[in-house]
Symmetry: C2
Subunit: 379 residues, 2 copies
């Protein structure tokens, strides 16, 4: 059933005959499985007019009429809740400034009413909530569902986030760090539909990475796979919060960039100084792009992804200057690989992590539809 569902997701519209071709299953099996999926309201039939002969054909696609997924992004300065349908369409998005709040208690003062209200609203309108995906700004212990010393996020270390969310809101809950949820937003709802191997790089106060390999998220042994912000870029450079020296994050994140510039305290000020041709600002920009270029070379030589997606609050400040970076990258990569260099901006902008949090549940639905529906109805 999972294989059939994944094909329907991948092709967006597909006929039963094409499903038989692509899965190798018999047409009897396809008839039964699609019948069951239609009954569950996970997929539905469409009528499409075939281009060649004008004949009407029955196509299958995801059904967005019954299920909703809630995505929660717990950030260092903001909190976002999104509601999406099965196609990843954002039905609703609510953002809150959290810069004055510290620790789980003060966060849950906001999260509590927001999630309770959002869930009630969805249910009152007759929809079924499949679950709650949650994005967090740092590493997790997946065995306990607790946060592990997230840098610059005081009060959260050891907080039993998984249990708290499940008990308080009674929804199936999946949690990943924000770089991984961002990667999953692309994988399931964005640029990743036909890409098996991608790396999402989120650049902001910190720099994180989410690695998707063979279509699946890769966590590593300690949940640290993809910590691209902590690759060493400046040998014997500054000590980083992680314990290492000269991490990309120490020179390439927003604080890292502003720390190398004496002209002001914000990216807006830096952008303005660059526009006015200020020599120090231009030098700072050039170094920043050089670090990015080296980091991307390493990402290519270590992961060899089909697609690199760049996002985060820093991205808009760098977007205009990426052409020379791409050209340098091509000249620094293995000759036979350089034509396949593909770097794209993120699909969902500032809502990337929240949409990706919801995408975690969508991935669960694709792989185990019956089990997720049973869990969702039990909740």
């Amino acid at each position: 059933m999972s294989e059939v569902l994944e094909r329907i997701w991948q092709f967006q519209q597909i006929s039963r005959v094409e499903l038989v071709e692509h899965t190798g299953l018999t047409s009897g099996t396809i008839t039964n499985l699609t019948h069951e999926l239609i009954g569950l309201k996970i997929i539905r039939e469409f009528e499409a007019v075939s281009g060649n002969v004008g004949r009407r054909r029955v196509m299958l696609g995801l059904d967005s009429s019954l299920y909703r997924i809630i995505g929660l992004d717990i950030g260092r300065a903001t909190l976002e809740v999104v509601v999406v349908d099965l196609n990843g369409k954002i039905i609703k998005s609510i953002e809150r400034d959290m810069s004055e709040r510290r620790g789980p208690d003060e966060y849950f003062d906001v999260i509590g009413p927001l999630l309770t209200e959002t869930k009630r609203e969805i249910e009152n309108a007759g929809y079924t909530v499949l679950g709650l995906g949650t994005s967090v700004p740092g590493p997790m212990d997946y065995s306990t569902g607790e946060l592990l010393n997230p840098p610059n996020f005081p009060g959260w270390s050891g907080f039993p986030l998984q249990r708290t969310l499940e008990e308080r809101f009674g929804m199936v809950t999946l949690i990943e760090d924000d770089a991984r949820t961002s990667a999953m937003a692309e994988r399931w709802y964005g640029l990743g539909r036909n890409v098996q191997d991608l790396v999402f790089i989120t650049m902001g106060i910190g720099i994180g990475g989410g690695v998707v390999s063979g279509g699946k998220i890769v966590r590593g042994t300690n949940g640290l796979c993809g910590q691209v912000g902590h690759m060493t870029i400046v040998i014997d450079g500054k000590i980083c919060d992680c314990g290492n020296r000269g991490c990309w994050e120490t020179v390439g994140s927003i604080p890292g960039i502003l720390g190398r510039w004496s002209g002001g305290g914000s990216m807006e000020q830096l952008r303005e100084a660059i526009r006015q041709g200020d020599a120090e600002a231009l030098r700072c920009l050039e170094d920043t792009l050089g670090y990015l270029e080296t980091a991307l070379i390493n990402v290519y030589n270590l992961y060899d992804p089909e697609l690199v997606v760049l996002g985060g609050r820093l991205y808009p400040y760098l977007a205009d200057y990426l052409l020379p970076v791409r050209n340098h990258l091509r000249s620094r990569l293995y000759a036979f690989a350089k034509d396949r260099l593909r770097i794209e901006p993120s699909t969902f902008g500032t809502s990337q992590s929240a949409v990706g949090a919801a995408a975690l549940l969508f991935g669960f639905l694709l792989s185990e539809p019956v089990r997720l529906l049973a869990l969702a109805e039990g909740g």
Copy 2:
């Protein structure tokens, strides 16, 4: 069948009752599957005396009495052929110096008689050859079975290795680069039996990496996943053969190390100078270890493996100096990950790539036993 076989490999000796427990299959299914595997002579029964009560129990393990796998390592300076049984035991190993030979024709003058003779010998002794695994010193185009510009290996670019080997020797043939075969040697026959995520780093004339994630080899989009030798270590450093600047390989490989030392032309000479306390030699060693440390930090922060295995011709020259590297690594890693740092030397020394080449076929046997046997008998 694959699941049962993989458990038998993993546990080395396991009873049918334990197989039921570990697989969740019924005892009837286990009885049938193991009966079939015994009939195929892939596994066999042992009698083991149970510790507690002295009762004899029937255990299952891999059967090494019928099948043999040939591993071929095509290296830049040497060629090795090994014959292994299903337990990865080396039955025979032949090595040839190839430093005077160039290109496929001159190599096949040696490979031809060696493989023909090895295959004939195995078959004359009544064994069945499952196939030929082959290790090559550079990237491949997996869709065509051709080599792709292997650095320092003139004459091989575009050579149709897969087709040539298959047509000439009539065996099922699998090919990977030497870092990946080395990783597979650990995965199937060495330290990887209970490890899902490992990185093998081979250091010699070049530096390569083989990444195993979730028990499976990772190739990446262009077959370049794991090119750890080409991560940038010295920003704006020397141009490397790959096109990048300041790659680890340019400073950390054997030529990279000797290029930073004016005292002689071999690692033996450098080792001797270090023993005698020569200041420049000590400085060169210290820098080499510093580069290794930074490279390993990056490997941990990007892949987060459970195990890193170090091998290659350079390894013995560094082995005595790794304790401080480990200690520095611990202090530079995320606090919650540092206790899980595990770095080991390779299991098969100079035969690592050849044994790993054979291990490729073993992996195929575990996942599709019936199909491989059918192919092997057709050949």
